[in-house]
Every structure is written in C-alpha cells, then in structure tokens.
Symmetry: C2
Subunit: 444 residues, 2 copies
C-alpha cells in the first residue's frame, strides 16, 4: 500500500540476518548494538536457531518494559509474555485453551458484530459457540453493556459462556473505546466470570480528537485489587499494524494476566507444538518495543518516519469519512482509529431483490441456476456482496462487503482500508462516490 518501512527496523533485521554487516561502517551504531544484543540472545548467535517456544527471553523482557512504560508503570512479568506468529496465532491458541465441553456445557465466546473474521473462523474450527453482541452503529460503533447482557442471557440457554473478545481500536469499525466503557466491560467480565481477550493490535492507530488508547491491562489494574487480582485477561499486539505495518514478518505477543499457574503450564505445552515463533519476527518485535532513544543516532530519523506515517493515516481517516458522507445513501462514522472505514450503504430494494433471487433458487439446484443465468443473470449473493462485485467490475476497486464481518439484519456496509496513498485514496473515493450514485439510479 506504499507505507514505507521504518529504516531502523530494517537495518537491524539486515544486520541480524547477515552479521558480517556488523563490520560495515554504513550502519549506525544503535542499529548494530540492537542487532548484537538480539544475536547474543539467540541460540548459537543466529536467527537460524530455534528459540524457546515462549520466545526469546530478553525480547520478552523488552516487551514487558514496553508495556510498563505504556501503562504508566503498572508492573509486567516477562513470564506472562508469549511471543507469537502475529496476533492471530496467539488469539487462536488462547481460544483453543478455553474451548471445551459438549452440548449445553460447550464453551461460548462473545464476539462483537461487526467482527474481524479470524474470530468466527477460529470458533467454527474449534466447534465453540459464537455469541454475537452488536456494536451500536448510531453511537459511533460503541459497545453497550446492555447489549452484552442481552447476548449473554440468551446464550446461557444453550451453551456455557466463558470468554469475551474485544477489538480496540476496532476492526472493521474503527472506533476507539472510552475508558468508561472499558471499566464497564471489566466489571461485567468480573460479575459474569468471563475471560477477557483484548485485541489491541491498533493501539498506536488513534486519530480522532478526544480519543485515546487505554489498554485493558492498565484500566484493570487502576480499578484496584478487587478486579486486578481476579479478572483473567489476555491481550494481543503485533508488528503488523500501527506505524510499523510489517505484516509479512509475523511478529506479535500476548500478555496473560491472572492465568491459573496450571493452565499456564498447559499453554506453554500447547505453544511448544509449533516449536517457536519465527525468529526474524521476534527480532523485529524487539526493536518495535525498544526503538531508538533521544540520545541515539537513529532517533531523529525514526521519529520523523513514525510521525509522518501516523499523521498521513490520520489525514486519510478524516478524508475518507468526509468524502463518503457527501454521498447521498452512504453514512460513515468517524474513523477514530485502526485502518478502516465501515460505512453503511443504502441499497435500493430492486438491487436487494436482484442479488437475492438466485440465492433463494439454489435449493432447486443446477437447473434453476442455469435458468437464472439464461433468463436474467441475477446473482445469488448477499446484497452488499452484489454491490461490491458490481463496483469491482465497473471500477476495479475491491472492497469487502459488510456481510463478511457481520451486521444487523437489513443493514449493508463495506469495509474500506485507509492505507492507499492520499492521491490514490482520493481517486478511489471519487470513483466510489460516482459508482454509488450510478448504482442507485440504475436500481431505483
């Protein structure tokens, strides 16, 4: 998408990959000292050796110090840190550990709708019960405790709710949770004895005025021992988002809080099956949590690159919302954080019908399908998929339909990333605007 990698990170990775470069005067001293420190902590001084399954110890220590700085000094034990293959790996691992039982006692896991499809896919794979709670679109995709309550009460009739997943800042919905809301969620989890899983991979991606990222860990500990000694929490972070955007390296970590020591033994056993997270990703994570300091030679460049990337993202978040809201029939909440807008689109009844007709006919098998093809070419798709396919055909722009993330019945959305360059994004938005008007006319 054109987001430039941070120079310092890539220098350290090159030095770690090919340590002969440590003699090269072109590399700054701080990059060399980071690389030396990482290599010393690797088996045989090489990225090529397996690490322990939980991750390299000094990197877990660096992650713990990073979390302590982020959370205003609340202590973090490196033994509670598990390095992972991106955040997805840790999320799936944690879910694996939580899911059990059969029938009424089968584990239920609460996830937001709209959600990031990793959750529904992992729950389906594990045979867990998905408990959907809806975010409030009319209130900027915020989380309403009453909706959590409703979803939980209903779920208790047919499964055993055990965990509550939160994505903050939100994917695909881009909201940033208020501190008050996080407190409410923690109280709810404490009362209902739910394991909290907080997906915080967009923690540096906060753009809107008045919004601030609060980690669940920090709020939990500031609520006092009644909560901080009781509520079980796993939080997740990764090198793939924020100003880093290094998805390909598959670096990440999970912090667990209040995990029963015997369960922790099982967790360690479980992660050992995959031997270890990729060591280059671990090395990258180390420099992410331990970046250049003000007295180091790479500091100025690092700050400049990071600031530029985040400032551009903020600009694009704002631009996306502004332009989309100019289109009659599109309503877009502010993109407070993360990397996506998730606007609601009004689809004319005729378009909805045309999309659905074949869907209803699929039960009459191939003959109906052939008939449909011959007679009218209607598509058996959800209406927002139909819309996105038309957009793709007409403009070459690929958006993900809201039905891939879940949405309230009868509402339609798409997810659009704010990652393309400003120039490209402007063109894309103009084309979507034009397409939407044309589409509306065509089906009205």
């Amino acid at each position: 998408m054109g987001q430039k990698p941070i120079t310092f990170f890539r220098q350290v990775l090159a030095l770690c990959s090919y340590p002969d470069l440590l003699e090269d005067s072109k590399f700054p001293e701080d990059a060399k000292s980071r690389a030396r420190r990482i290599l010393q902590a690797c088996g045989g001084g090489s990225l090529g050796a397996y690490s322990t399954s939980q991750g390299i110890e000094i990197i877990r220590q660096d992650v713990a110090r990073y979390i302590e700085r982020r959370d205003g000094g609340i202590p973090c034990d490196p033994d509670n840190i598990y390095l992972s293959i991106g955040a997805s790996d840790a999320i799936v691992t944690m879910l694996k550990l939580l899911v059990s039982g059969e029938g009424m006692s089968r584990t239920g896991v609460m996830i937001s709708i709209p959600q990031y499809p990793l959750y529904s896919a992992a729950l389906a794979e594990l045979g867990a019960v998905q408990i959907s709670y809806y975010l409030e679109e009319d209130n900027c995709w915020s989380l309403d405790i009453n909706e959590l309550r409703r979803a939980l009460q209903e779920a208790k009739k047919h499964c055993s709710p055990r965990a509550l997943c939160i994505i903050n800042p939100g994917n695909p919905t881009g909201q940033v949770q208020s501190r008050q809301c996080i407190e409410d969620v923690i109280r709810f989890a404490a009362t209902e004895n739910l394991f909290l899983m907080s997906d915080e991979v967009y923690q540096d991606n906060v753009y809107a005025d008045g919004c601030k990222f609060h980690s669940f860990k920090k709020v939990l500990f500031e609520m006092g021992p009644e909560y901080s000694e009781k509520v079980e929490l796993a939080s997740f972070h990764s090198t793939s988002k924020c100003y880093m955007g290094e998805c390909g390296f598959r670096g990440g970590y999970m912090e667990v809080v209040n995990l029963d020591p015997e369960v922790k033994v099982q967790l360690t056993k479980l992660v050992s099956v995959r031997l270890c997270p990729p060591v280059p990703g671990q090395a990258l994570l180390d420099v992410v949590v331990n970046p250049p300091q003000p007295d180091e030679p790479s500091y100025d460049t690092f700050i400049k690159e990071r600031t530029e990337t985040l400032a551009t993202l903020a600009e694009k978040a704002n631009m996306t919302q502004e332009i989309l809201n100019q289109v009659p029939g599109i309503k877009c909440n502010p993109v407070q954080g993360a990397m996506y807008s998730f606007p609601r689109i009004h689809l004319p009844p005729k378009a909805i019908l045309e999309a659905k007709v074949e869907s209803a006919c699929t039960q009459f098998n191939l003959i109906s399908v052939l008939f449909m093809d011959i007679s009218k070419g209607e598509k058996g798709q959800s209406p927002d998929m139909f819309y996105c396919m038309k957009l793709l055909e007409e403009t070459g722009i690929c958006l993900v339909p809201g039905s891939g993330f879940g949405q309230r019945d009868g509402t339609y959305h798409f997810r659009m990333t704010i990652l393309p360059s400003k120039e490209k994004l402007k063109i894309v938005l103009a084309k979507i605007k034009e397409f939407h008007q044309h589409f509306t006319d065509q089906y009205s």
Copy 2:
C-alpha cells in the same frame, strides 16, 4: 550447535530485509538478482507485506521446479504447493483436514513408533485416534508391511483409519527407507485407501553407503497410473534441517497429490486463517530450492559450504554409532540419515525398580510422595528418564529418553543428536560411555 549458515542464503535475506544494500558492491550479483526477483514478487516490493495464504507464487513455482529436478522430471504443479511455517505447521494443517467423526467412525492415523512427538501431540489435540506401528529395531529400524497390517487390523475394531504417516529419513531413528519398502507402503495405502503423509524434512541428510533418498512422490509416479492417479499424498519439507539448519526462519512447504479439488478449496480456506507464512521464511525457502548455479559467482562457496556441512554430519553419524557400540549394554543401529542416533540401552533391574517405585506410589498421593522423599528419594519416572536425569546430573549432558518417542515395552533408548562439533561430540560420547559403565556398576 555450531553449524554455519550458508553465506549466500544470509546475503539474500539481508538484501531482502534492507533493499538499500542492493546498491552495495560488497554483495555478489547472483545474491542481488535473487533478492530483486523475490522482492518483485512481494506485495509493494517488501518482505513486510502479507503474501497470499498459500505462499508467494514465484516461490511455489521455484519449489515445483526443485521437486521436478529432484524426482527426475516427474511434473509438479505449483498449485499443489502450500508454503508453511516450517514443516510442523503443514503437518498439523493436513491432519486437521483429515480428522473427523465420533466413536467408531473417529479418524485413525497410523504413526511409527518410535515417532517424532509432533505427531502424537497433534493427534491428541485433534482428538484423533493414534494407531501405532512399530519399526523393526533388529532390522535397522526398517518398516515391516506385516506390522502395518497388524496395526491396521487391530485399529479397525475401534476407529476409522484414514491416514498413514511416514518419516523418511527417520526421526528419531535415523533409518533411510529402501525403494522396495516405499513401493510396499504405497501398495498398502492404495489397498487400504489410506492418505499418505510423508515427512521428508531430512531428504538431504543421507550418510550410509548404499542408502539413497527416494521421495514418495517419485516412487508413486514410477509405479504407474494405477497408483499415481489414485493414492492421495502430502509430502513435507522444510528449511530447518539438511545442510541449511535454518530452524528459526520457520520456512517449509507441502506438496499435495491427488487431493480432491473440493478438499483443496477447504485446505486453502484453512490456511488462510493464519494469513500467510512468514515472508522471510518464504524468501529463504526460495534460495534453498533455487541455489547458486555453476555459472554464478557464489557457486563455489555455496558448494564448498554445503559439502563441508554434509560431510561433517556423515563423519559424526559414523563416529556416534562406532563409539556407542563399544559400550557394553548399549546397542546402536547405523545412523543412515537424519540427525540422531537412537541407541538401545540395557538398564539393570535394580535401576528399573528404583525409577518405578515412586511411580506406583503416586496413586497414594502426596503422603506417599513425601514418605518416599524422606525414606529413599526414589524417582517416579520411566526408567530411561531416570537414566537421562542421572546423566544430566552427573555430566551436564542432556539426552531425550526413548519414552518420549515411544518404544516397545521393556526396551529403553535415548535420542542423541549428532549436531555438536566433532570435538564436542567426541567428549560427549566418552562421557556417556563412562557414565553408562558407572551406572551399570552402581545398580548391579
């Protein structure tokens, strides 16, 4: 373990990590051209972008060409290649896809005993039925079709056998399967309608005279269409073993043959949950399957490094077997391939008793344990674990007891890697010899 990385591989990785180095005259042209080619195939020309879930297309093409060269020209379709996070990830994914059913219809998977514990762990996690077939220790850990038959017949009484796993060259047992034996296995799989999973991560690690690596794919296709168009096969390879030894990068691939197209769709869906294999590991795999050619500047160094590593491993394989077989009470099969010896150890009855006493007592809970501790300090361990713990305490040498891999009742083994340097290995072997004699005296 002191095995040096291949210079060319690390140069390409450094170039890919920090493409500014492409301007650096210190890097050879062939390393630069490989790096450029890989980067061009990456999203945005960067290792930091997600790849497709199946893996970068040109790398899958390179893997396919590698397999064709290895197998004497038998065609390989890049669409049948799935890049993975080391081999373990692909093995677990394939097992996931194969396992289903409940009770009598629950999927059974045949694995060799001794086995690499990834298999038993993955089967336990998936709730599959493990069907153990024993390798013939007296015949150099070879695979006997009659034993396969016995295990299968017995298993059919309580589950639905669906897959047969082979590790060749063997881990932990170091045997290399003969071509005849592979043919027999393929015929058996065809008759019994079993899905073949062949773990071939040690395919370059063959040391013994008269032994040669034959891929299951090659043998399958040479047996003619009766088999090559029918038997389902997944074979696995990785960047972690052989002369590369780059475990930390978690690179690997799986080739599937005769997989039902609809199942392939599900496989692609399944791997998409983990987004993509780490891109640095994919890049490394690309140079492993596409190393320097005779007319390229890095060729001589590459060949020298590879030959040295493999020759040293062969020497150490031989030395290990020779020295261990000099010890009365230790019997070691030739290490034909892979990276381990798995010698049988004779343990005096008194040692077996001492190891087991507490084991029998654990059912009487904590009080007995305390009593045992106070009275004699006996250990509740399998006898070979007891042996290995004693060795660790007395010498600092860490071996893995045979019970971790499975062994015939009443036999005891340990697994020992041949990876340490010749000098170190010699010292280790001398210490084991001394320890074994001392241990035998002590408990006789």
